[in-house]
């Protein structure tokens, strides 16, 4: 699961025990990135 720190804009890997916190700047607001998979959508 990849996130991006909302303050320093660096990619962050979250691990189970580290809590929600950017390891580089300590900021606690992380943004979830869109997955790089190709997504197939039907026209409804």
């Amino acid at each position: 699961m990849s996130y991006k720190c909302s303050r320093c804009k660096r990619d962050v890997q979250l691990d189970e025990y580290g809590g929600v916190r950017c390891p580089y700047c300590g900021h606690r607001v992380l943004l979830k990135e869109r997955s790089r998979d190709v997504k197939e959508v039907g026209v409804q």
């Binding site: 997504k39 026209v43 409804q44």
Partner: protein, 249 residues
């Protein structure tokens, strides 16, 4: 039973036309109208694979917008069920992605218009997707409707029956469609839909001409008006044949 139909064009362009049909029953006129709207198959995007979408709209919203883009439909027989055509789009902001940015794998299936906006992309946003196109009919999804604004009105016969008495303030007589005046077909738009413009100071009588209908047909660009009308008649013909065969069994 001998069918005496007579067709005459009043206005005619590629995507829009007005034509008069004589000798047709109201039921048949309505059957043709409904067939044009719901039963003539057209090409439209059905599934979209998003490689990248960093725009402000969700994939599903963009998929719907792409689905509604009118595409040219190949001639009958060129395209059979289960054949697929792929369209791809790749636009990077700052720019607006238009239907014209769709690149087709088949020259027969192209966006009918180049200028349908899909999404406005800001700096750094990008849309990259591939779309699968299928053939289906309007009955199943509005994106497959080839006919937009399809309707008919009775042909109206106008006859001068006398003069308006002097000093009488004439009321406007609004009529829409096409009138028949001594055998001449005149679209009401020519006199601003007001009979008092065409027949000043004259008393006129209007009546519907039985079994004469003026169709107004506009297509979404999938094909020409002629194509749409012909194919609509063919769908009715096909169903009649199917019923005939089913009854014989």
């Amino acid at each position: 039973m001998t069918e005496e139909y007579d067709v005459e064009f009043v206005e005619r362009e590629d995507r829009e036309a007005r034509f008069l049909v004589r000798g047709v029953t109201p039921a048949f006129a309505n059957g043709i109208r409904r067939a044009m709207i719901a039963d003539v198959p057209t090409m439209a995007i059905d599934t979209v694979r998003f490689v990248e979408n960093s725009s402000v709209m969700f994939d599903e919203q963009l998929a719907l917008r792409l689905g509604l883009v009118p595409l040219t439909t190949p001639p009958v027989g060129e395209f059979v069920e289960d054949d697929t055509v792929t369209l791809s789009i790749d636009v990077e902001g700052p720019a607006t992605a238009y239907s014209g940015n769709l690149v087709s794998s088949d020259s027969l299936v192209q966006p009918a218009d180049e200028n349908v906006p899909i999404i406005d992309l800001k700096d750094g946003q990008r849309l990259e997707a591939e779309a699968e196109v299928v053939l289906d009919r309007g009955k199943n999804h509005a994106k497959h409707q080839g006919g937009v604004a399809v309707g008919y009105r009775h042909l109206q016969r106008v006859e001068v029956v006398g003069d308006v008495p002097e000093f009488e303030e004439p009321d406007e007589r609004i009529v829409r469609g096409v009138i028949e005046d001594d055998g001449e077909l005149v679209p009401t738009s020519e006199f601003d839909h007001d009979l008092t413009n065409r027949y000043p100071d004259q008393e006129v009588a209007i009546e519907d001409v039985p079994n004469a209908f003026v169709f107004h047909v506009e297509t979404d660009g999938s094909f020409t008006v002629e194509e749409l009308v012909t194919r609509a008649a063919e769908t009715i013909e096909a169903r009649a044949t199917e019923l005939e065969e089913a009854v014989q069994l």
